[in-house]
Symmetry: C2
């Protein structure tokens, strides 16, 4: 089987395969254009008669669990990134699969981290055929070099839920690492030595996988409350000594930026929002956990405090700054998809206004709406932006696949999307004629804030109108590009082959772009 | 179309149809014997592109909502009994359906109450073909008299979830009345003038119905937290002036029994549990909201307090007595399926250890286990018990269908099931040679407590052994029956026709018994 076949040019002008790892795929048709007519995936029915009446689903080992799940060649195993770079479970799952001699598995993580580099040996020896999920760092490099047997498929967090829900990806065995669980399989992320906050990325897997294994190092008596994952979806529970490395799960070092350039980006972003009237009593925002984004959140908090306003909700990734806003009454709710520090975990555990969300709730494009469209101000990053406001988050300008999409594509549906980005990184301009890899269509990206000026998407005539007479340096995107090139020179095109190594899915499951093998 | 066809004798020796309202049905095969091999129902996929980007799904009226949902002849409309006898929504739904001239609807309530008597006119004029759900009071009488066009189908709360999940019942339009909701459709039962506690009976409907309408009289800005029903499943939101009558939603009058006979039942039930060692530090129980059951709960609380023990969890229906136990530390959790008073609502709203459950979590037999099997002591009622410990909860001994099943069948899976029942009611013996209608197979019922003695199911040799030498009056079930007959005389058999008017489903979707037309 060839990795891919039948190339076409999609509505974004990108060449994409329509056969991916042997399965048909639909090329991107434009934002909101593809309408699915199908029905949701239908997992097998089960009977309580086949599950232990005492509710005790604990079995001895991961290996035994995989055997009982009927793991076979070519199956799909899913895992999740709740432990970020401290995950000790996914590597052990594939160690066990290797011991069992199973081949050509598809690994379907919600994201991958440097701690997953050991899986390269299983990609090399045929235990794993390919990854559908983010291929960060070493795994990205491995993919970019064309060394992965199957084709990589990158999806957003919402796209991952959509793909599972729609039956595009069938999960045979879901492995859900859980900081606390009971023998029935109820599980949460707020208690235990590996506390990570929530387990929302595993929701789709629990609902739709044929078999579900919960792995914990903190078994509590039934009922494990809150039951972020419900045991009624779970087949087996495995207890390990340690499932995650706390200091790598929680990044206690996430701090606001001290770089003067980044602080400027933050200040200008916040001022822009204020000047165009995006900040009001009851507004909502999603910033993120990077240094610049954190600083923007602090500017927002200052504005709210000063005027006696509060946000109706802030979307997490949560962190101590967001928790402080909640506790200070500057936001009524945190709608949280991922907790980034121990303050976030504590707040989610103890504060009912710090709400556990999932990609279903926040991001699934094949739902009856989702929350992404309700957020007033969304602050995102990018590796590249082009003169049409298209943006890239997965590859660097040398074509190397180094990042996942995360919730980035989903957040583009916010009411106003702002990308504060440096004009260049390592003398490499961020604003280009054309992005190396298209991850987000420019029509959804409203404002680019750089340290040399701010460009507003010409589609947003409302914002342009409101900024007339502002003291902020409003420029065109081409002006910003030229400024960057004046300093760094016109960037060379990356030297890429025409061999596709991965594809970028859009939020509706269509294929937005291809990632090419680097030379 | 005939109401039913192809009668067979099932594994319980009961005559049941295998064609019900034109659809095939499976006769009961014995507890745990029927194994389904199918897949879950697959609701249609939707796209966010078809839902308002501002998240505002509010439309003007119930009638408009039904039109937009494409309501047509023969469709199924579901509703829920969270408001018990104070429901103002279901009658208005069918008023609107009638105005639209739609015919032959199936009404699929999670339960019905006397307040639904006005629907009889729609059963008579052909707007509603039949009801699948409890047919209490006037609706039961209507059914028993053979006046319903289609065949009634009674299911337990868990069986209702199972039927929807399994695709046995396809809900075209679910109407979810919600004490609080936001314009996106997120909803809960803990806030607002019609606060009822939770909305768990509507979970299946939200997940599996083609179209979902949320109806509220308390619209709050997004996000409505907690979101017991998630807006991502909701198509339309309708705001009415009033959706429920608070004093009929919440029964503030639920009090422990003062009847000496019932107090004796309660005392003996609790003493029995204690003597056989069912009460221990960390045990669990489900009692219910009747006077006898409440009194048993108080006896349990006294025992725990005295010994410095606590229950791990108590299953609700919650009420002020259970809330007091939680707040006093006599139980660690309440796992609640239904709040019966304002104290229950308050506690569920404010106490994270008072947990909102659903029939999926607690009762669905086609899940990967459910919680019903984990409860140590279950106290239930019955209209009749027979010498094989079979029990009836839906008909009276005159054959009249007057009650629904509720969670009763599901709770039979508890570790020890105790039925405290009076030996007779209105000089009508409760213990009979054979139950009029079989709702629960005797193999699942362990102990019958009456005011004249306690009978233990011969299958429970462990309990019989432990009660040797007890001062409690342990008797055989036949002895109890004879005592009743000595006092009341041998009861006459009810005079029933051989025309079937309704069937009783077992928790696995098979047909357990038939209910016959009365003369």
């Amino acid at each position: 089987m060839s990795k891919y076949d039948k190339l076409v040019t999609n509505a974004a002008g990108r060449i994409v395969p329509t056969i991916i790892n042997g399965k048909e795929a639909i090329p991107f048709m434009g934002v909101g254009k593809f309408k699915t007519a199908g029905r949701k995936a239908a997992p097998p029915l089960t009977s309580c008669a086949d599950y232990p009446a005492d509710g005790n689903k604990v079995i001895a080992s991961l290996k035994e669990a995989l055997v009982r799940c009927g793991l076979k060649d070519g199956m799909t195993i899913s895992s999740h990134h709740h432990f970020r770079n401290g995950d000790l479970v996914a590597p052990q799952v594939f160690d066990a699969a290797k011991e069992l001699g199973v081949k050509n598995l598809m690994w379907f993580p919600s994201a991958s981290f440097p701690c997953h580099e050991p899986l390269i040996k299983y990609l090399e020896d045929g235990t794993i055929d390919h990854i559908e999920g983010s291929m960060n760092g070493a795994l990205g490099r491995f993919t970019s070099e064309g060394r992965m047997k199957g084709l990589g498929v990158l999806r957003s967090h919402g796209g991952r839920y959509q793909a599972v829900q729609d039956g595009e990806v069938h999960i045979d065995v879901a492995v859900i690492a859980a900081p606390s669980a009971d023998p029935f399989g109820n599980a949460n992320g707020v208690n235990g030595p590996a506390a990570c906050g929530l387990l929302g990325f595993a929701l789709a897997d629990s609902q739709y996988a044929d078999k579900v294994i919960v792995v914990t190092d903190n078994l509590v008596p039934f009922p494990c409350i809150p039951w972020q994952i419900q045991g009624n979806y779970v087949d087996y529970v495995v207890v390990l000594d340690q499932i995650g490395i706390p200091e790598k799960i929680i990044s206690g070092t996430t701090e606001v930026t001290k770089s003067p350039d980044r602080l400027l980006l933050a200040e200008w972003s916040a001022r822009f929002c204020d000047e165009v009237g995006l900040i009001y009593d009851g507004f909502s925002f999603q910033a993120g956990a990077g240094g610049t984004a954190l600083s923007i959140g602090i500017f927002f908090a200052d504005i709210l405090r000063e005027r006696g306003w509060k946000a109706r909700f802030a979307r997490g990734g949560s962190n101590k700054y967001l928790v402080k806003m909640l506790e200070e009454g500057l936001t009524e709710y945190i709608l949280d998809g991922q907790t980034f520090d121990l303050e976030g975990v504590r707040s989610m555990r103890d504060n009912p206004s710090h709400v556990n969300t999932s990609p279903f709730t926040s991001y699934n494009y094949h739902g009856k709406g989702n929350f992404s469209t309700l957020v007033d101000v969304v602050i995102l990053g990018a590796t590249e932006v082009d003169v049409h406001f298209n943006a890239n988050v997965v590859t660097h300008s040398d074509g190397m696949l180094l990042h996942g999409i995360g919730g980035w594509q989903n957040c583009l549906f916010g009411k106003t999307v702002i990308l504060p980005v440096p004009l260049f990184r390592d003398r490499n301009p961020v604003i280009r004629e054309e992005v190396t890899t298209l991850c987000g269509p420019g029509e959804l990206i409203d404002v680019i804030v750089t340290e040399r000026g701010i460009a507003v998407n010409p589609r947003r005539t409302d914002l342009i109108e409101k900024m007339k007479g502002s003291s902020l340096p409003i420029k065109t995107i081409r002006e910003l590009k030229e400024e960057a090139e004046k300093i760094c020179g016109v960037p060379e095109q990356p030297i890429l082959t025409d061999e596709i190594v991965a594809v970028i899915k859009w939020v509706d499951g269509t294929v937005l772009d291809s990632v090419y093998k680097v030379t």
